[in-house]
């Protein structure tokens, strides 16, 4: 009996502490500065660790920067120059040289494959998962690492799991309760309060430190917010600073429960799996949503899949055909404290969340950008590219024209047709055949 009583006492003290230091301030959007102190200690420790590693590492010729620098000398001249001819010249047996060279170059190095694995760090951040090139350096470093493991798994993890649990339950209960009220401004205010509180709790569950820049450009009602996609946590990060209407498929299980609860309090746009295939239906519903100026801005991730936060891939034009004002947002994570990228082919959702909760912290920057609208004579694809460039420049990411869907599917034949067209024009072109 004594054991149970003791356990009960510990649990209740624990919960009171959590309540006092974390939950209540979340409601009011106030920070007690505990996370700031934690981050300062963390930064100091990592700096110390980096110095130790640099002292200990042998001075070998580095392959370390190979991830960012190309490994082959590229000749980016267009097809015409590469085939060394003027337009309209005839086919030569040697034309095959150009294509085979380009093909072999792609085999040795291509810009897409590397974007679907986690970014590599220049120095170790005391997490085993990022320890790919660092060998045993010193006893002290190993001790610090062991201490780090203990802190992360025994102290931080239970705390974070508790918070996550509380956060999600509050969300479900809160939105269901608010959903009972009749439509009124009180309901909207309450639903915002519930959303924001629960999001703040969940962010603390990940030890997230988020810096928002240019808050004056925060997305307004009746607009569409687009952002680059790195992980499901992106949603959490954005909703902590404002309420959005989300768009997506209805899932089963826990996600489904959360979705159904949320839609009671404020109008999100959830689609059934079958409806997602009908693009006109999707566009129609979204148009209706933004036409109503009282509704919250829609949040969309036009890449369609998670990329590893070093680059921005093709924005699918669907979101840009709806019309309305686009509010671009750039999200950049700091990989030093924890890798936020969700490699869905490697980890499922649960192991991903576990990895998140056992990292040091999630640190990221969010830049709001001035709104953009489609200009005269610009089609959806060009508009999408314009927005993509703006986001890439702001976030310091590289821009790639490739479709994120390449992760799973093969590339569309239309791209190959373009190359074939270019080549045909050269050898047939002005009809200079005999």
């Amino acid at each position: 009996m004594e054991g149970a009583e003791l356990a009960g006492k510990i649990l209740s003290t624990w919960l009171t502490l959590v309540l006092g230091f974390i939950l209540l301030p979340s409601v009011f959007g106030v920070s007690l500065g505990i996370s700031e102190i934690y981050m300062k200690i963390l930064v100091k420790t990592l700096e110390w660790a980096t110095i130790r590693i640099e002292k200990g590492a042998p001075k070998e010729a580095t392959l370390k920067n190979s991830a960012s620098v190309g490994i082959i000398q590229r000749d980016e001249s267009p097809m015409e120059k590469g085939l060394s001819g003027l337009r309209g010249r005839d086919f030569e047996l040697s034309d095959v040289f150009y294509f085979s060279k380009k093909g072999l170059e792609a085999i040795v190095e291509d810009e897409v494959t590397q974007r679907f694995s986690s970014e590599e760090l220049v120095s170790w951040n005391l997490l085993t998962r990022t320890n790919v090139n660092f060998h045993y350096i010193s006893l002290r470093l190993t001790m610090v690492w062991v201490l780090g493991v203990i802190v992360r798994y025994c102290v931080l993890l239970p705390l974070r799991v508790t918070l996550a649990f509380i956060g999600i339950s509050l969300l479900v209960i809160g939105t269901t309760l608010v959903g009972q009220l009749p439509d009124s401004s009180l309901k909207n205010w309450l639903s915002e309060l519930v959303h924001l509180t629960c999001c703040r709790i969940c962010v603390r569950a990940l030890s997230g430190t988020i810096h928002y820049h240019n808050k004056q450009y925060r997305p307004q009602k009746g607009g569409i917010c687009v952002a680059n996609h790195t992980s499901p946590i992106d949603v959490l990060i954005l909703t902590t600073d404002g309420c959005y209407a989300m768009v997506g498929q209805v899932h089963g299980g826990l996600m489904g429960i959360i979705q159904r609860a949320m839609v009671k309090a404020c109008p999100h746009v959830w689609f059934e799996r079958s409806e997602m295939k009908d693009r006109h239906l999707v566009t129609k519903r979204l148009k209706e949503h933004i036409a109503d100026k009282k509704k919250l801005p829609i949040l969309i991730f036009p890449e369609g899949t998670c990329i590893n936060n070093t680059s921005v891939m093709m924005f699918k034009k669907g979101s840009f055909e709806i019309g309305g004002t686009i509010h671009p947002v750039a999200i950049k994570y700091n990989p030093q404290f924890g890798d936020a990228f969700w490699n869905s082919s490697k980890y499922n959702m649960v192991s991903y969340l576990l990895r998140m909760m056992t990292s040091w912290a999630i640190v990221c920057d969010v830049w709001y950008m001035p709104p953009m609208t489609r200009e005269e004579g610009e089609d959806a694809v060009q508009f999408a590219n314009r927005v993509k460039s703006a986001i890439a420049i702001q976030g310091g990411l590289t821009e790639l024209p490739w479709d994120g869907g390449l992760k799973r599917a093969k590339v569309k034949d239309t791209f190959k047709e373009e190359q074939q067209k270019n080549y045909s024009k050269m050898i047939v072109g002005n009809g200079s055949l005999n």
């Binding site: 010729a61 392959l63 370390k64 190979s66 991830a67 620098v69 190309g70 490994i71 082959i72 000398q73 005839d90 086919f91 030569e92 047996l93 040697s94 034309d95 095959v96 040289f97 150009y98 294509f99 085979s100 060279k101 380009k102 093909g103 072999l104 170059e105 792609a106 085999i107 040795v108 190095e109 291509d110 810009e111 897409v112 494959t113 590397q114 694995s117 590599e120 790919v132 090139n133 490739w402 390449l406 093969k410 590339v411 791209f415 190959k416 047709e417 373009e418 190359q419 074939q420 067209k421 080549y423 045909s424 024009k425 050898i427 047939v428 055949l433 005999n434």
Partner: protein, 195 residues
Amino acid sequence: MGSRSSHAAVIPDVDSIRRETGFSQASLVRLHHRFRALDRNKKGYLSRMDLQQIGALAVNPLGDRIIESFFPNGSQQVDFPGFVRVLAHFRPVEDEDTDQDPKKPEPLNSRRNKLHYAFQLYDLDRDGKISRHEMLQVLRLMVGVQVTEEQLENIADRTVQEADEDGDGAVSFLEFAKSLEKMDVEQKMSIRILK
């Protein structure tokens, strides 16, 4: 890109590969790194599908022919030595290669071997000759649906006639090499790996 610990010690038979292909140690390490990045399921070899996943290769009109060149003799898998053997054809020609001991086999990146690689891309059935029919098929790959059958046949006929010397209606490797004797093959079929 997965684990960076591709030191030379990890590559099996690195010395014999180096002798055969002429790649430097550093280049082999980089290529091994790349091989492992392409080998998504960590099988230890590459299949056709692994290569087809490369976007820039899939849009190349000759992408399929290039992928085929990695799987000679009907095999379905290519291991690291086989992978590097093909890439060795594109190694730039350096001065040290030109005064070779005549007893040693010709280096993979010699002019003749580079030409042979290009010849193979045309020679679909690997019989040592490019027939008019094979020429048509490869041309069709390069132009897709943009050119009519008639125009393509004209091009194929003209090309075979120009190169064919012994009048057998097909282009043998010697005839192929002769028709390209003025071409700077070494420069056009070279990929320089930066250190």
